[in-house]
């Protein structure tokens, strides 16, 4: 069985500084993968390469659903299949919540306004903000905005969802509501790659946890193995630093 996301020898540099040192990774359809690691370890860069928000070296290969992630027409096809949720939400501030969710299906999939709206309302219901549909993003709390961002990504019916530290910009009391929405998504068949600092969430939801450091995948495995029985010293010291205090 071929994986849904194939990453082979992924290398990326900012000038002299190499951020990713040839990463190999396969992610199966429907799998929920949490990527953890210290800041600067390259975990955000890794997932931003999957939909090519970051360019990468020419001899590196990423394929989503068998489509190579290279600049050009194919890239639009990949991006339509791969949803992304950002740390800073990045909602469109000049549109209502409803329009935010409707825009991409209308423009990219050429959905009729009526259909896009019906679907947007269903999705907003699903993330628990149907009453806020006609408000503007600035009038919503951070947690609500991030849930709208998830609905906006879901509106394209993506096969893959990328989460780039989705709760890091939130006030602590709002983290739970966003994680709850993500938990409900896990197991619905959508492949999820989540960069997170929420270790409890990763342990509970992930099929596989990937620990990165210094631009390399140090260790990967089921959450129980990574959290309870890490093999690598670097994983142990990281987990020690984030968990035991």
């Amino acid at each position: 069985m071929s994986a849904q996301i194939n990453i082979h020898n992924l290398k990326k540099s900012y000038g002299e500084f190499q951020v990713l040192h040839g990463i190999d990774l396969e992610i199966a359809q429907g799998e929920v993968v949490c990527v953890i690691g210290p800041s600067g370890s390259g975990k955000s860069t890794l997932i931003r390469c999957i939909n090519r928000l970051e360019s990468f070296d020419d001899d590196s290969e990423i394929a989503v659903d068998g489509i190579a992630v290279v600049p050009g027409r194919a890239l639009a096809a990949v991006r339509a299949e791969v949803g992304m949720v950002f740390q800073s939400f990045n909602l469109f501030p000049h549109m209502t919540v409803l329009r935010n969710v409707m825009l991409a299906p209308m423009r990219v999939r050429h959905s009729a306004t009526k259909d896009a709206e019906a679907r947007a309302r269903v999705l907003l219901e699903r993330v628990g903000i149907s009453e806020q549909a006609d408000k503007y993003p600035e009038n919503l709390s951070g947690g609500q905005q991030q849930r709208v961002a998830i609905a906006r990504a879901l509106a394209m019916e993506p096969k893959v969802l990328l989460f780039d530290e989705p709760t890091s910009a939130l006030d602590p009391e709002m983290v739970g509501e966003v994680l709850d929405v993500m938990k409900k998504l896990a197991g619905t068949g959508v492949t999820m790659v989540i960069v997170t600092h929420e270790m409890g969430f990763a342990r509970q939801v992930a099929d596989r946890v990937i620990f990165m450091d210094g631009g390399n995948v140090i260790e990967a495995g089921p959450p129980a193995e990574i959290f309870d029985n890490p093999k690598e010293e670097r994983t142990r010291s990281f987990l020690h630093a984030v968990l035991d205090h």
Partner: protein, 240 residues
């Protein structure tokens, strides 16, 4: 022998002076006579102004987007254009367009000479305004659009420009005021605009009242726009 300035004589001089002032600068019969001429000039001024403003806005938006996203060679050319037309005095450009271009076979009417010169310069300024507006949009908006699979065109039209235009409305309005004011330069290429009509009426009546009338009409035309800009600036500096 020095004159003794009693309060009475001072008052008489002053009164006489004021009367002279009025009959010279605010001569009602002269003004009434020249009013139709001034108003036809106003119409021409407004026509030149609005045509140049619209062409300048379209040209400026095009230049801004080319300068930001076109291939590097084109970007360099656009940048050169913008710098040149922001540097050249409008009066010089206008005279070049009207008096020099005929030597290479390009003959533009006074109206099109004025509109061309004003548009070329206004587009350069407008391009810089739009560019600043587009660059002020957070990068996350571009990324979110890209991640959703929106094309470059939809990213611009649906996401970036609606936000950028909001930011640049005050400076754009300011630029419109400048274009309106600069239409007065068209009078040097024999365009019967407001200023030209006023100077002609002044020559005809041997009285400067039509000029004062024209100045007042410019004020009445532009003061509200200045007021609107101030309001817009206040509103947009507070946020939405």
């Amino acid at each position: 022998m020095p004159t003794v300035n009693t309060p009475f004589t001072v008052g008489a001089y002053f009164f006489g002076g004021v009367m002279d002032l009025f009959s010279t600068f605010f001569n009602m019969p002269v003004l009434m006579n020249s009013l139709p001429q001034l108003l036809s000039g106003l119409l021409v001024t407004v026509q030149i102004g609005i045509t140049s403003i619209i062409c300048g806005l379209i040209g400026g938006l095009f230049l801004a987007i080319t300068r930001l996203y076109a291939p590097v060679i084109v970007q360099v050319l656009v940048r050169g254009y913008i710098d040149i037309f922001r540097s050249i005095p409008l009066l010089v450009l206008l005279i070049v367009v009207y008096y020099a271009l005929p030597f290479v076979g390009i003959r533009l009417s006074p109206f099109f000479s004025a509109v061309t010169a004003l548009t070329l310069v206004s587009a350069a300024y407008t391009a810089e305004i739009f560019r600043a507006g587009i660059e002020a949009i957070p990068y996350g908006q571009f990324e979110a659009s890209a991640a959703l699979g929106l094309s470059n065109r939809h990213t611009m039209v649906d996401v970036i420009l609606p936000q950028a235009i909001r930011i640049v409305i005050p400076p754009l309005t300011n630029n419109c005021i400048n274009v309106m004011k600069d239409t007065a330069l068209a009078s040097v290429v024999a365009m019967p605009d407001l200023l030209k009509q006023a100077t002609q009426a002044q020559a005809l009546s041997a009285n400067p009242t039509p000029l004062i009338g024209a100045a007042l009409i410019y004020l009445i035309l532009l003061w509200p726009m200045v007021y609107v800009v101030a309001r817009l600036e206040k509103r947009y500096s507070r946020g939405r």
